[in-house]
């Protein structure tokens, strides 16, 4: 069957099997920025934004993407033009092996869109589905706080 959707801002029309999940379909189409860690919706490595809301793509049927706007980490920025969250992640040392990082950053992006100055509890809640075995979460949480402060300062300057 065909699905039409927006992927990182571009219109896409893909032929997919009706019984396929979104993670498989994304990776088979070259979107390996979406990582695979558990296949049961428990690790968050395969997080994508669906209309701005983070969810695991391994426990989502490909058909559910129909008409939606899907954002992967590639839709945020790349090594040469990083998103402020990617920048902060690198600066505070929140990237270790980096396998969980794309998913975590996408969860963080959705959080900051909803709560520009999140509390620590809000940050923990937002990252609750993204497992990381390397960092102990301390530096990723710090990276989100840093980004929030920066974005709000920037906003303050433009507003003034």
């Amino acid at each position: 069957m065909k699905i039409t959707f927006k992927l990182n801002g571009r219109d896409e029309e893909w032929e997919v099997e009706p019984g396929a999940n979104l993670l498989d379909v994304l990776r088979e189409n070259g979107h390996t920025e979406v990582k695979r860690g558990c296949d049961t919706g428990d690790c968050g490595a395969c997080t994508v934004l669906v209309d701005g809301v983070p969810r695991s793509s391994c426990t989502m049927m490909a058909g559910q993407a129909q008409g939606r706007e899907i954002t992967t980490i590639a839709g945020l920025g790349d090594a040469l033009d990083p998103h402020p969250l990617q920048q902060a992640w690198v600066e505070v040392g929140a990237v270790q092996c980096g396998f969980c990082t794309p998913g975590m950053i996408l969860s963080a992006k959705a959080l900051l869109d909803e709560a520009p100055m999140p509390t620590e509890d809000q940050i923990k809640d937002a990252l609750s589905g993204n497992l990381c075995r390397c960092t102990g979460y301390v530096k990723p949480i710090e990276a989100i706080k840093l980004t929030a402060t920066r974005l709000n300062n920037d906003k303050g300057v433009t507003d003034a």
Partner: protein, 288 residues
């Protein structure tokens, strides 16, 4: 592992409720609803050849009305957690917040929780305690089923090929309170035990009516009738609650699973019930 179901032949996206119901009724056992997708995309029986995705039906609204809280079946748990308002909003949000991680709650829907019939579905436990009405659409019309029915039947037997469209949580009356408690080591995991309670007090803080439901340990919610009987007429004091908890421990026969052993779950069902009742009483008193 990892939802890939080559045996699925069709993926339907009905544009109206009638179309959805017709499809469910045509394919019956060979059809499954895709609500949030979190259960379906993980495990799907080989008999299911048609997936019916309900996302285009606009069933995800959360509204506070005079009749009570109207919760669209396709509203995801995160949305419910944020939007649930009114007197019962707090306990509903608190229950939703214990289900899985944020990534799960962003996907899993209220209707999916009611329909899945898995031991770890916590929402039916609370909905039964709140005596919510579940709107089920069938070819011959819409039926309002009491969520209390979830305490005696498997969801699949209640629903058949019907589609859940909405839940209505009745309005709050003075002196009523509800509570929800889940015993878990890791936030969001499937609980060792889950309980939800609803109470009504008289002017002397005596419990005049009570619903107490346990979950997390069997394929459907379980009404703790004997405990309810023991609570009515009491003030829910420590001695009564201790008695109720020990009664549950003696009578309740939960299943074992890879994380918690049976004896522990049995004991925790009592603790969860006690704590849910304590919350309910506190709410009922506080609402005065």
């Amino acid at each position: 592992m990892g939802g890939y179901f080559p045996w699925v032949k069709r993926y339907l996206r009905p544009q109206s409720l009638d179309e959805a119901i017709a499809a469910m009724n045509e394919f019956k056992d060979a059809a499954a609803v895709v609500a949030g997708g979190t259960s379906v995309a993980m495990r799907l029986p080989r008999r299911v050849e048609v997936l019916v995705d309900l996302q285009d039906l606009g069933l995800d609204k959360v509204q506070v009305t005079d009749a009570g809280l109207k919760l669209g079946a396709m509203a995801n748990l995160r949305k419910v957690e944020k939007a649930a308002a009114g007197a019962w909003g707090g306990v509903i949000a608190s229950a939703c917040s214990t289900v899985g991680s944020r990534l799960v709650r962003n996907a899993a829907t209220l209707g999916g929780e009611m329909a899945a019939g898995l031991p770890w579905c916590d929402i039916p436990v609370l909905m039964a305690a709140l005596d919510a009405r579940v709107s089920v659409s069938r070819p011959d019309g819409e039926e309002a089923v009491s969520a209390w029915q979830w305490t005696s039947q498997r969801p699949s037997d209640i629903l058949g090929s019907g589609v859940i469209t909405r839940l209505l949580v009745p309005g709050h009356v003075a002196n009523e309170g509800a509570g929800f408690y889940k015993v878990m080591r890791v936030q969001g995991e499937y609980g060792a035990a889950v309980a939800a309670a609803w109470v009504r007090l008289d002017e002397h803080d005596t419990i005049t009516a009570c619903r107490l439901v346990s979950g997390g340990v069997s394929p459907h919610a379980v009404a703790l009738n004997y405990a309810q009987d023991a609570l009515v007429g009491s003030k829910g004091d420590d001695t009564t609650l201790k008695y109720v908890a020990s009664m549950i421990e003696q009578r309740f026969k939960p299943a074992s699973d890879p994380r918690f052993d049976r004896a522990y779950r049995q004991k925790m069902t009592g603790v969860a019930a006690k704590r849910a009742v304590q919350q309910a009483i506190a709410m009922a008193k506080g609402g005065r």
